[in-house]
């Protein structure tokens, strides 16, 4: 049996603006993670262009992509991916050590409401707390883009809301362009723009007139 070419993304055209909060909605396999990975410089599109402030990411070398991630992009994943051998503060410091204008690790952790648990190891934190450390780690470098792949996927509703509130607050206070991937349609209400994806294509793009307060979201 030969290998079949699967188009993960097909004719996708998307603009993200500075300070914007975008929510990418779609079922599993709709191509939303591939899109996020390409925007974040983790993956390279086989054709087409990806422009970041007039520079074409699709022409970047591996080394350039690493530097792009290092200085411009913050990632938050479904499974936190904290370094188990480092405390909350050290996990954040890991990033601030290699970036050019970072905020102090303490400030980033205060921002996500974890100022009290700064010297705890991941194994001593709950899932929601771990995810908030992951967010602090992502924003501490003052990225221009914050990419979140199912940030509430592994959390219960109450904890999930807490994490979303943090993302909302960070976006408002730091004006970081933020993209959140989720299969939960309700979360779309918190974004400036909602992009709905299906089978590798963008099927709908909605601009919300006002962003709903996370507290009011029902799921």
């Amino acid at each position: 049996m030969g290998e079949m070419t699967v188009r993960a993304l097909d004719h996708v055209n998307l603009d993200l603006y500075e300070a914007e909060m975008a929510v990418l909605l779609g079922a599993s396999g709709s191509g939303k993670s591939t899109l996020l990975n390409i925007i974040g410089g983790l993956d390279v599109a086989t054709s087409g262009t990806v422009l970041y402030r007039d520079r074409d990411l699709s022409a970047f070398t591996d080394h350039e992509l690493t530097n792009y991630r290092r200085h411009h992009v913050g990632f938050v994943f479904q499974f936190y991916n904290l370094i188990p051998s480092l405390t909350a503060r050290e996990n954040v410091a890991l990033v601030t050590d290699i970036s050019t204008h970072p905020m102090p690790a303490e400030e980033a952790l205060n921002m996500v409401g974890l100022g009290e648990r700064i010297d705890h190891f991941p194994s001593q934190l709950s899932g929601g707390e771990q995810q908030r450390v992951a967010i602090a780690r992502a924003i501490a470098k003052r990225p221009h883009i914050l990419l979140c792949d199912e940030p509430t996927g592994a959390l219960d509703a109450k904890t999930g809301k807490l994490v979303l509130q943090v993302l909302d607050r960070v976006n408002r206070e730091t004006s970081t362009t933020t993209a959140i991937i989720t299969h939960n349609a309700a979360i779309g209400n918190m974004g400036d723009v909602v992009v709905r994806m299906s089978s590798g294509k963008i099927v709908e793009r909605i601009e919300n007139e006002t962003r709903m307060d996370v507290e009011e979201i029902e799921w």
């Binding site: 690493t66 991630r69 991916n81 188990p84 051998s85 890991l94």
Partner: protein
């Protein structure tokens, strides 16, 4: 093929780097057993076969002259199985060149039939024809060194008269596997040969018609060896008996036995160490490898596979690696064993010597590896099986970390987050870290042993040939000569200095223990031959009493100050007592030293000497050799330089093979441990490393984290390895104490530095391989999956 089996095959293929390195460790362990132990057993078998086929005697009794009919009396001694007699003499060979005069030992063959005991094996040509005059068989090593072929003639000087003999055959015999010329320590095949001739020729030529000057016997299984020796001595005393001695004192057997004994250390101890290391590594590496498959094991269980099926599946990984490695090790071992034996074959005259692998040995080596592999795999599989299947359904909780001891001591503040991650990873699994370090340390230790042996032998040679034997030539006289021969020798052209010595065979007795040695009587003011202890310092020749080597003192259980009984085995055969005035540490032989004058007094034979040491002009060596050949009293001329040369030649080849073997083995172990540890770390911490890459860490920064841990483990392993190596070297020096020599315990700084450097190279090579793996790491793939 079941899906589970297909999974096994694919995973082995996927983990081929690790599978190969584990298989190579097994291969090295089995190979060392098959090669070294196999060679040793082959040597011992060949020796036994040779001895029984040529009816090698068990007791020798040299004497001056006895009538042939005395043999019936010897045969009648209780405990004697068979007895035989012969005539034997030393003679000078005239070989028509200007080299050092060569010597031959004539050994008589019976007038009809083959010798009852101490038969020879004819390699080329034929056995002598009874009654044919002037036929001679010569020893093979001498024939090869001097390019003699059957059909050549050889000119010998018997009692001052030249005589041409026809070489009809070339042979070997167990008595002369090592033909060591008198006064020398090692065989010198181009200067000393054995000549077998009919008793009809030798009897009249040496005034031995109807008589013999050497008897030997074999013993019945229930015989008391000491009683037979005593009876023999009693019977032969009136005929100038020179003291009967058992096989273990027979020169050639003694050297062969010493070689075999030292081989037993390399043939038994070292392979066991190697095999142990291999088994330990299997345990370690397989255990960790299977630990990384924890989740999968739980999933299989959730599907309804039984513990037994899951266990068997993962154990198969161990079995496949062991079988593959075992096959490589066996084939390689047999091949290497063959070349090992081929090397020994140049040195040992054992006619049926060939490499033979005993099945029991192979089974043992295999079993050891299987047990190690399965033991390691079992422990890990068990931990995984005990895990409830539901565990696999949940994301794994992050590993527990806390600041370790070193960090609380303040080390943490000196390190950045990278250093702290490395430190905490090691501190979190100290046992694992320690065992990895121990594994690498073993390869450092093995290298240390290799270099150590080289250093020790070098040291020993240096001591023997540059500090102790400082003469240019060692002369041996046919019989004892008056001391004034020194003046004659001094007058020879090219001789600068002459010192004479007296060698006196004696039995030393203390309590119920006794040893036969030749007491060396030396000139107190002598500068050429000196007493040197293990530190290389000169010990003055005692004016009274005897100084002996610690090997001899230990045998007799005497200490400095004890009074021992001396039974002189020559001339007037006095029995007297003497005080031990010193014990020195040295390395070669069982030695007893006295001043020449004191020895004269002890034996009651003043002013006689057995030989002389000469300092000569190199340029006039050729003429000097010619002149020495003309002196009938001189039967042996040995040169320490040529002894050293022949010894070094033999040694160089052996060391090259051994060093290659050790290097290969240590390399396989070091790579096996470091590469596997890093690879396992990579799979255990894949998510962590991928996260770092996502956050913008460059490849080399991630590699630093992963390999930093291995670097720390390697650095810790080096001093540990030195320590283990030091201990093993010590054990080996204690183990290789034979009658002939001891190995000094010498470890040059170079040994430590070289072993550390070589391990460093192996570590870098492993790191490089893992780094390449890391470069192909799919970040996104790793992060998408749950642990």
């Amino acid at each position: 093929m079941r899906a589970l089996d297909r999974k096994l095959l694919r995973e082995i293929w996927h983990l081929k780097g690790q599978a190969i390195s584990i298989a190579l460790v097994v291969a090295s362990g089995i190979m060392s057993v098959v090669t070294m132990r196999g060679s040793y057993e082959s040597l011992v078998n060949a020796q036994q076969q040779y001895y029984s086929e040529t009816r090698f005697a068990e007791i020798w009794a040299p004497l001056v002259r006895a009538p042939l009919n005395l043999l019936t009396k010897i045969e009648a001694i209780p405990g004697v199985d068979q007895a035989d007699s012969r005539v034997t003499f030393l003679a000078t060979l005239d070989l028509d060149d200007s080299g050092i005069p060569a010597q031959g030992r004539f050994v008589s063959l019976p007038e009809a039939g083959r010798p009852i005991l101490n038969d020879l094996v004819v390699r080329r040509g034929r056995y002598i024809v009874p009654g044919a005059p002037d036929e001679v068989i010569i020893s093979e090593n001498f024939a090869v060194a001097r390019e003699f072929e059957p059909g050549d003639t050889i000119r010998v000087i018997i009692n001052g008269r030249a005589r041409d003999l026809d070489v009809v055959g070339i042979a070997i015999s167990a008595e002369h596997s090592y033909a060591v010329p008198p006064g020398s320590l090692y065989p010198e095949d181009d200067r000393y040969g054995i000549l077998w001739a009919s008793r009809e020729i030798l009897g009249p030529a040496f005034n031995m018609d109807g008589a013999f000057n050497e008897a030997f016997v074999t013993l019945t299984p229930d015989a008391n060896e000491n009683a037979v020796i005593e009876t023999l001595d009693e019977i032969l005393r009136p005929y100038g008996g020179l003291g009967a001695y058992p096989r273990r004192s027979q020169a050639s057997h003694q050297i062969l036995q010493a070689e075999l004994d030292s081989n037993r250390v390399t043939g038994a101890v070292i392979p066991i160490v190697f095999l142990g290391v291999a088994v330990f590594l299997l345990y370690l590496v397989l255990g960790r490898l299977i630990s990384t498959q924890r989740g999968e094991i739980a999933v299989l269980k959730a599907f309804g596979y039984s513990d037994r099926e899951v266990g068997a599946h993962f154990l198969m990984f161990a079995v496949v690696a062991v079988l593959a490695g075992g096959a490589i090790g066996t084939i390689g071992g047999v091949y290497l064993g063959d070349s090992y034996i081929a090397l020994y074959d140049q040195y040992f005259d054992l006619p049926s010597l060939r490499y033979q692998l005993t099945p029991s040995l192979l089974v043992f080596a295999f079993l050891a590896c299987v047990i190690g592999a399965i033991g390691g795999a079992m422990a890990a599989v068990r931990r995984a099986i005990l895990l409830p299947p539901a565990e696999a359904m949940r994301p794994q909780a992050p590993d527990r970390f806390k600041p370790g001891f070193l960090e609380r001591m303040g080390l943490g503040r000196l390190l950045g987050p990278n250093g702290r991650m490395i430190l905490r990873n090691i501190e979190r699994k100290p046992v694992q870290g320690f065992f990895s370090s121990l594994g690498v340390a073993m390869s450092v230790a093995i290298l240390t042993i290799g270099f150590f042996m080289f250093d020790s032998i070098n040291f020993m040679m240096d001591l023997q040939f540059r500090l102790i034997q400082r003469e240019d030539l060692t002369l041996t006289f046919r019989e004892i000569m008056p001391d004034r021969i020194a003046h004659e020798l001094n007058r020879l052209d090219g001789v600068n200095r002459v010192e004479t010595y007296r060698f006196l065979p004696a039995r030393l007795r203390y309590g119920h223990r006794d040893e036969e040695v030749a007491i060396q009587g030396m000139e107190i003011t002598g500068r050429m031959r000196r007493i040197i202890n293990a530190d290389g310092n000169e010990v003055p020749v005692p004016s009274t009493g005897v100084v002996m080597s610690s090997l001899l003192a230990n045998r007799l259980e005497v200490q400095s100050g004890d009074e021992i009984i001396v039974e002189i085995l020559e001339g007037k055969r006095k029995t007297t007592s003497i005080k031990v005035t010193g014990v020195i540490e040295d390395f070669l032989g069982l030695s007893a030293y006295m001043s020449r004058d004191a020895l004269w007094e002890l034996s009651g034979e003043p002013n006689v000497v057995s030989g002389a040491y000469l300092a000569v002009d190199d340029e006039r060596l050729a003429t000097l050799f010619r002149e020495l050949k003309e002196i009938p009293a001189v039967t042996g001329v040995a040169s320490p330089d040529s002894m050293l040369e022949s010894f070094e030649e033999q040694l160089a080849e052996g060391i090259l093979i051994a060093a290659g073997f050790l290097l290969g083995f240590a390399g396989v172990i070091a790579v096996g441990v470091i590469y596997n540890a890093a690879r396992i770390s990579l799979s255990e911490r894949g998510r962590e490393l991928a996260s770092l890459r996502v956050m913008g860490f460059h490849r080399r920064e991630v590699a630093f984290l992963l390999l930093g841990e291995q670097a720390v483990i390697t650095l810790l392993a080096i001093p540990l390895g030195w320590l283990i190596g030091y201990g093993l070297c010590y054990a080996i020096t204690e183990g290789i104490q034979t009658d002939i020599y001891r190995i000094p315990f010498i470890a040059e700084p170079r040994t430590y530095i070289l072993s550390a450097i070589l391990i460093g190279i192996a570590a870098l090579a492993s790191g490089w391989a893992v780094r390449r793996r890391l470069d192909r790491f799919e970040l996104v793939e790793v992060l998408k999956t749950r642990e």
